[in-house]
């Protein structure tokens, strides 16, 4: 036996399962679908977790990685408007206004490996390696440092599934899910041993894709694709189990997985109805368009008082802020209350649609809060809020089956997570484990 054993590094490993709700992972563990996860989750703290609003990946992941809400990190949705215009743009990683946890680690010369992290495109310099995930397009811009581009490309690594074809063709979707998962596993195998890392993170996004297109399948054992869908979670489970065992092997089993974390960025449920809020605003007289078939909010006409950006972000069309601004500051306060009250009374058949309609200051804090929406609507599970301006009806359905939820994400740590867990609290918890 060596007299002096090298002290083991205190490392952290995070596995993100995009969109997997607490309820689903609990069910799969009980039903034996995910035995490796069941074994891991049997000890430590498994918690139902709340996320920031709106509950979409482009906001939730920045909230996770920066430990802050959109008022501080500055990302409020997949789309936003250029200041002083109605022109939409897609916020990118450069629009993130707070350091990610691996930025903080890098400042202390700690090495990170981050694979398939959504909302980090184009990839930027990190101490270690970053492979951007959704909405990354080009692998060349999705990988830092560039020296890894050819290695990652060579392993048939695919950033995402072909969403267009997968939405229509579920057989194809399953093959795409398998292919992307295989690529993630190869990347994990390579990078785990290639770098002497302090922080390792892998996000699996196929779960979110499957749930968007086939949530109904997961709830219907008689469905022809039921077992095939569950098989995908079995494969995810096997990969997570493998990584967990390796982490414990290298960290020392006496630590019982201390430093290992599992989480999702939002929950999921079955869509009952999509709710087109701009159509509701139009019918209530708050919005008019300058053409019969509007395509974007840039097509609103003079006199418009409010508009919605996906999913439930309501903006008052303020004078001085927007080119066709029609609402003064004094009027804005009353208008906000009026819209809030009416929305809370919105019904579909005999059900109220909204769970809550929050004021900006109730949900955001920080220097960029003012760039957020005036009101943020959250609907009861099953009502999927949309900002489309093209719809002529308030309620409708498409071929999408699953929708996001804000209050049913999950988090697991080997240690004590406390009773209430919020996605903005994870970053500090993880940073404390790296030493």
């Amino acid at each position: 036996m060596a007299l002096f054993r090298k002290k083991k590094k205190k490392r952290a490993c995070v596995i993100g399962l995009d969109g997997v709700p607490h309820s689903l992972i609990s069910r799969f563990c009980e039903e034996g679908v995910t035995p490796a996860l069941a074994k891991i989750l049997a000890s430590g703290s498994l918690r139902k977790m709340k996320v920031t609003l709106p509950e979409i990946s482009s906001v939730s992941w920045p909230s996770f990685m920066t430990g802050s809400d959109p008022g501080t990190h500055g990302i409020f949705g997949f789309i936003d408007l250029r200041p002083g215009t109605y022109n939409m743009f897609f916020p990118s990683f450069r629009d993130l206004k707070a350091p990610a946890l691996w930025d903080k680690l890098g400042m202390d010369k700690k090495t990170s490996v981050v694979i398939n992290q959504p909302s980090t495109y184009p990839a930027r310099k990190v101490e270690g390696i970053l492979i951007s995930g959704f909405v990354a397009i080009d692998l060349v811009k999705a990988i830092y440092p560039p020296s890894y581009i050819s290695k990652i490309k060579a392993m048939d690594y695919q950033i995402d599934i072909d969403t267009m074809r997968s939405r229509q063709d579920h057989d194809f979707c399953f093959s795409e899910l398998d292919r992307t998962l295989a690529g993630r596993e190869k990347a994990y195998q390579l990078l785990w041993k290639d770098l002497d890392w302090d922080y390792f993170e892998l996000v699996i996004t196929g779960t979110d894709r499957l749930q968007h297109y086939m949530w109904n399948v997961l709830e219907d054992p008689s469905h022809a694709n039921y077992h095939r869908a569950l098989d995908y979670y079995r494969k995810v489970d096997a990969l997570v189990g493998k990584i967990y065992e390796r982490f414990c092997d290298e960290s020392g089993h006496e630590r019982d997985g201390d430093g290992f974390f599992l989480l999702s960025d939002h929950g999921f449920c079955q869509i009952k109805q999509e709710v087109y809020l701009n159509t509701w605003l139009e019918k209530e007289g708050y919005i008019t368009y300058n053409k019969p078939s509007p395509q974007t909010v840039a097509d609103i006409a003079e006199g418009t008082k409010a508009f919605v950006l996906d999913p439930g972000r309501i903006y008052i069309n303020r004078k001085g802020k927007y080119p066709l601004g029609a609402v003064g500051e004094d009027e804005a306060r009353d208008l906000i209350e009026e819209i809030r009250d009416k929305l809370l009374r919105l019904h579909f058949e005999d059900e109220t649609v909204m769970e809550n309609v929050s004021l900006r200051d109730e949900v955001y804090s920080g220097p960029f809060s003012g760039e957020g929406p005036d009101l943020i609507a959250t609907a009861h599970h099953g009502y999927d809020l949309k900002g489309s301006v093209a719809k002529k009806v308030i309620f409708g359905r498409t071929d999408l089956e699953g929708m996001h939820t804000w209050d049913d994400a999950f988090f697991w740590t080997a240690g004590d997570a406390g009773e209430h867990v919020h996605i903005t609290g994870l970053s500090d918890m993880i940073l404390n484990k790296v030493g």
């Binding site: 930025d103 969403t163 220097p367 489309s388």
Partner: protein, 200 residues
């Protein structure tokens, strides 16, 4: 560029003024309007006559906060370097200013006593200075500062780089390197993908 306040807090001798001066130089070189409110200097003018009781310390820090707020509002970078030992008053300033970046200059007391550049720790130990932070008066560490610089472990250059990187990442100062935006082709692909998933 919009203004912001860079607030250095930490015990006497932890390196606040030294790092603040370096940051000032770099931001001035990058063409920004910068003002430094150094605790030692402020006590000779704006807060002249104030002592070191908790009440006087709070007034001093609120005054620095108020001036920083006005500077920030007028698109100046205000750099405050003062012990600012009480968390509540620092957080009050954070709330007032909004665009507020807290830097904790962290250094163990033993190291500070060894350094003792101004000879103040020795005086405090001899009882010649009453109400001395870290010795006979409390210092409340920030719970969630934007940056922690461990000045006993890092060089001044490393601490400065850490702070500048944070400011870049927060979008308060322009990044030193070029980072690409989306191309038109990428925008089309992103739009299509978001539509496929029902996000827009």
């Amino acid at each position: 560029m919009k203004g912001f306040t860079l607030w250095f807090t930490g015990m006497s001798g932890a390196g606040k003024s030294t790092i603040a001066e370096k940051i000032e130089e770099i931001l001035l070189e990058r063409g920004m309007k910068v003002e430094v409110l150094d605790g030692d200097v402020v006590r000779t003018n704006l807060s002249k006559g104030l002592g070191f009781s908790k009440e006087d310390r709070d007034i001093n820090i609120r005054r620095i906060g108020f001036v920083s707020h006005i500077l920030t509002r007028n698109d100046v970078v205000a750099i405050a370097a003062a012990i600012s030992p009480y968390r509540e008053i620092r957080d009050e300033n954070r709330k007032l200013i909004g665009r507020f970046v807290e830097v904790h200059c962290k250094c163990p007391l033993d190291t500070l006593k060894e350094r003792d550049v101004k000879g103040l720790y020795a005086k405090a130990a001899r009882g010649e200075i009453k109400e001395f932070t870290g010795v006979s008066d409390p210092y409340e560490e920030p719970l969630k500062p934007e940056v922690i610089v461990d000045t006993d472990k890092e060089s001044v250059e490393e601490s400065v780089a850490k702070i500048l990187r944070t400011l870049e990442l927060m979008g308060y100062i322009p990044p030193s390197g070029e980072e690409d935006e989306y191309t038109a082709e990428e925008e089309e692909k992103i739009k299509s993908r978001l539509q496929d998933l029902g996000y827009i």
